[in-house]
């Protein structure tokens, strides 16, 4: 079983390499090649599902990152198999549909199918994942592939915005989910989902467990587009229609629902489970139904109706009692059938007429009779008309809501029922509108102009789904058997009541009929007023607000960095210096006691007379550097400092240093003098005035004095101790026997640390090469500057043009 499951999950990843390459050769026909992957996965999972037992649970584990305790482990039980089936079988249908849908008008077919397969693999990984970290990784992978697919038509602004919005919302809530899963794993001390499900954590702090639940719930709300995250899904409709049908109605957006079902046994005991899920779920259900009736775009209507259904599913799990639930799979599978079908129908309509606006469509019934039948069946299922699977779903939905209302303590228990009725009425209304708007009435001008007939093959997948709506609607026994086989411990109650088509005249039936009637009335009212009033009010346009926020964020960041940043490098140096002063000075001040700076101070020991005299001379020379007016005199003062330092080296018993310093000092004097001689007098005069403000001068002074003080103190502290076994002792002992030289400094440089000297020479070579490059660049003319940085680069002698 393990290997087969691994193939089902990881084989589609191979498509990432194969399909883009094949796409270059095959073009639009690559879709038929892509069909291989979902067929294999679906075959394996169907095979697994056939061999499964009710309430069975198996895990498959491979070591992955043993250091972190992360395993590549998968959990096979009813729930994961159910979603695995949905994902892979829908994958087959969608790929078949897409192979017909994406014709030569589209580009990058190979890439499209590669993304689609990536998504399918990620989805399968998510639903089968056993380790919590693995679950999160696959979860985010679905979000990334969703981003790639929504933004597939990246030439359109709507696609880019929709993709970004989906990525931000699902990505950020995904991180919240990660926090929740990690918290759950840490609190329970167990990262394996199978172990958590069989033995839910009991004696753990309720606050922490509740926190984990809240975070997981937010993650699920984000993915399943629950209020207040509901706005991203309609914007994700910018994707090609196969993607909308697959990701944004049938599979990915159900991940939140899946997650709630998955963690049901773990969190259901919590006090917050029912209030949170019921409140958010049913609010979303009703709100999205309202938004759907206010929309005109076919895909927007379907998107909002998806959000509405997802809200119901979340709320449904919220209503579930302690023991478990019944028939959640009925509601999910019903939605997969009719919504997937409707999306495909809409895609075909869009393809045939080049418009998705209900106000411009009409009269297609006569032109596409087969499609009209398909749409009629699926719309009837969405509206919940008798004879379809949707009718059964609505019956049991109302049954559960009635039961919940009766069992509840006060009026708040009626909240789900009221919102379900409201949403269902609206759903009936927009189902009729959807069908009638496309197929009923006379052909509109837009239809007459653009219509071209769709092929038969593209209508096969929706036909299949519509047939499922009808067949299962009349044969509920199959659904019951299906649910029974895929039941999961902790989530489902054993021995579910039989699903029957006819219960007699019950309150559910009467309510259902009243809903249909009310929905028809609303449709009639809307049609009479030509839906002129239907417009989403501004306060409900969450996406506009979100988009504005996203747009404003970079601007705010830009303003902040403009406020903090300065374009002049000169202004940074005092800041860095000031930091050093505060850091070092603070350190010294804080540890002042420890250093015992003046503890054994004496003037006799502290000052050496000859060195002190040299220091005095250097001090005078340094003052000259700052006080003297001319550059040349300043340079001479600098030189005097250098030569006095040479003498200081002599006092330090460092003859080699003194030799080097005297040479370098002479060369420096000549070199800088040469430079200064090239500057005109005006340049020097122009600099008498300091451009700095008094404040800046004060800061400079503080930095200079501070750094001088700190380094002086540091130097004093390091030189205070008189040690007898200093580091260089080893060199002194080894210099004659090893290096055959008496001067230890010389032997260190050329023998012991010869490589260092080599690198030192390399530094000099680099400096010389740099200097040559700078000197040989000829002056560029105005015209050459105007040509830009790459125009007329100059390794050339001054005045000689290499290029005219």
């Amino acid at each position: 079983m393990g290997t087969a499951l691994l193939i089902a999950i990881f084989l589609p990843f191979a498509a990432l390499v194969i399909l883009p390459l094949a796409g270059r050769v095959l073009g639009p026909r690559v879709g038929w090649l892509a069909l291989v992957f979902p067929v294999i996965s679906a075959g394996i999972i169907i095979n697994l599902a056939l061999g499964t037992e009710s309430f069975g649970q198996q895990t498959v584990a491979y070591t992955w990152v043993p250091v972190l305790g992360v395993e590549l482990s998968f959990l096979v039980d009813g729930l994961s198999l159910f979603y695995g089936l949905v994902v892979s079988v829908m994958g087959v249908l969608i790929t078949f549909y897409a192979a017909n849908y994406l014709d030569g008008h589209y580009e990058f077919h190979g890439r499209f199918y590669a993304y689609l397969m990536l998504f399918m693999a990620a989805m399968l990984g998510t639903v089968f994942a056993n380790h919590l970290v693995l679950l999160f990784i696959f979860w985010e992978l679905t979000g990334i592939s969703s981003f790639l697919l929504i933004g597939f038509l990246h030439g359109e602004k709507k696609s880019r915005y929709g993709a970004r919005m989906a990525l931000l919302v699902t990505g950020i809530t995904g991180l919240v989910l990660m926090a929740g899963l990690l918290l759950l794993g840490i609190v329970a001390g167990e990262f394996s989902m199978a172990a958590l499900l069989t033995a839910p954590p009991t004696d753990v702090p309720v606050g922490l467990l509740g926190g984990a639940f809240l975070l997981v719930a937010i993650g699920s709300f984000g993915k399943s587009a629950q209020f207040p995250f509901h706005f991203w899904l309609p914007n994700a409709m910018a994707a090609p229609t196969p993607v909308s049908a697959y990701l944004h109605s049938a599979t990915m957006v159900k991940l939140g629902v899946f997650m709630v079902a998955r963690v049901y046994p773990i969190f259901v005991d919590l006090e917050w489970w029912t209030p949170l899920l019921v409140a958010i779920g049913f609010l979303t259900m009703a709100l999205a139904a309202v938004l759907a009736i206010l929309s005109h775009d076919l895909k927007a209507i379907l998107a909002y109706s998806t959000v509405s259904q997802l809200g119901f599913l979340i709320g449904f799990y919220g209503m579930g009692g302690l023991g478990g639930t019944h028939y959640d799979l009925l509601h999910v599978v019903n939605h997969v059938f009719f919504k997937g079908c409707l999306f495909m129908v809409v895609g075909i309509v869009d393809h045939a007429t080049h418009t998705r606006d209900l106000r411009q469509l009409g009269g297609l019934g006569r032109r596409m009779p087969l499609l009209a039948v398909i749409a009629l069946l699926s719309a009837a299922s969405m509206a919940g008309l008798p004879g379809t699977l949707g009718f059964l779903s609505k019956e049991y939905m109302l049954k559960d809501a009635f039961y919940f209302a009766e069992a509840g303590a006060d009026w708040r228990a009626w909240y789900p029922l009221a919102l379900i009725v409201l949403a269902s009425v609206l759903k009936v209304a927009f189902s009729i509108r959807l069908f009638w708007g496309i197929f009923g009435g006379a052909a509109s001008p837009a239809v007459k102009e653009h219509f071209h007939h769709p092929g038969l093959l593209i209508q096969l997948p929706p036909l299949l789904l519509a047939a499922c709506c009808l067949v299962f609607g009349f044969a509920p026994g199959a659904i019951a058997a299906f649910s029974e086989t895929l039941a999961v411990g902790g989530l489902h109650l054993p021995g579910a009541p039989e699903i029957k088509l006819w219960h007699g005249v019950t309150r559910e039936l009467i309510t259902s009929m009243a809903i249909v009637a009310a929905g028809a009335v609303i449709f009639a009212l809307g049609a009479a007023t030509a839906w002129r009033w239907a417009r989403i009010p501004l306060p409900l346009q969450f996406d506009t607000g979100f988009e504005a926020g996203v747009e404003r964020l970079p601007k705010a960041a830009l303003n902040l960095s403009r406020f903090l940043r300065d374009n002049k490098p000169l202004d940074y140096i005092p800041v860095i210096g000031l930091f050093l002063v505060v850091f070092l000075g603070g350190y010294f001040a804080y540890h002042w006691e420890r250093f015992e700076v003046f503890d054994d101070f004496s003037f006799q020991e502290g000052f050496h007379y000859l060195r002190s005299f040299v220091v005095l001379l250097i001090l005078l020379a340094v003052i000259g550097v700052v006080a003297l007016p001319r550059w040349t005199t300043q340079l001479l003062s600098i030189s005097i400092v250098g030569f006095l330092v040479t003498f200081y080296f002599v006092l330090f018993r460092a003859p080699d240093l003194a030799m080097t310093q005297i040479l370098v000092e002479s060369a420096t004097l000549l070199l800088v003098l040469l430079l200064l001689s090239r500057f005109p007098r005006s340049a020097e005069l122009g600099e008498r005035r300091s451009p700095f403000s008094p404040l800046r001068k004060a800061v400079n002074l503080i930095v200079a004095v501070g750094i001088g003080g700190c380094v002086g103190l540091f130097s004093f502290l390091t030189s205070r101790q008189k040690v007898d076994d200093f580091a260089g002792l080893w060199f002194l002992e080894r210099t004659v026997p090893d290096a055959k030289g008496t001067n230890a400094v010389n032997t260190i440089l050329v023998d012991f640390r010869g490589l260092d000297t080599l690198f030192e020479i390399a530094v000099l070579v680099i400096a010389v090469l740099g200097a040559i490059g700078l000197l040989m660049r000829y002056r560029r003319s105005r015209q050459e500057y105007a040509e830009g940085a790459l125009g007329a680069s100059g390794f050339s002698v001054k005045g000689v043009r290499r290029r005219q």
Partner: protein, 122 residues
């Protein structure tokens, strides 16, 4: 105990930093020269007081423990040479800036309002 050396290092560092904080490139260059001297002295002073020690040249009759530490001297020698290399590069760079930008002042170089004669014009 080498108060005078510590004071010297402190003063040299202070003046060097002051010069580097100026806007004139020539002053910055002078600051760099001073800074390099100051850093060398700070390094050397870490070998302790030289009083009563001889130069690190091994000759008969002098105990090695009575010599100055050769290691800081070797390091400083390298530093002097590299400091000179960098200085000569800076000198040439400064010359180049003057040729291209017609200024020896950093504040003027980065002044956006200045019309750059012969410079890049957008």
């Amino acid at each position: 105990m080498m108060f005078e050396t510590a004071i010297l290092v402190g003063i040299l560092f202070g003046f060097a930093v002051w010069l580097i904080l100026q806007s004139s490139f020539v002053k910055i260059l002078f600051g760099f020269i001073l800074l390099s001297n100051a850093a060398n002295l700070a390094m050397l002073s870490s070998s302790g007081s030289p009083s009563g020690r001889s130069a690190p040249v091994v000759l008969d009759g002098i105990a090695v423990t009575a010599m100055a530490d050769p290691l800081p001297q070797a390091l400083v020698l390298t530093a002097i040479v590299i400091g000179f290399g960098v200085l000569s590069y800076l000198v040439v760079l400064l010359y180049r800036i003057f040729l291209d930008q017609k200024t020896t002042n950093a504040a003027e170089l980065f002044d956006e309002s200045r019309s750059q004669e012969g410079g890049p014009e957008q």
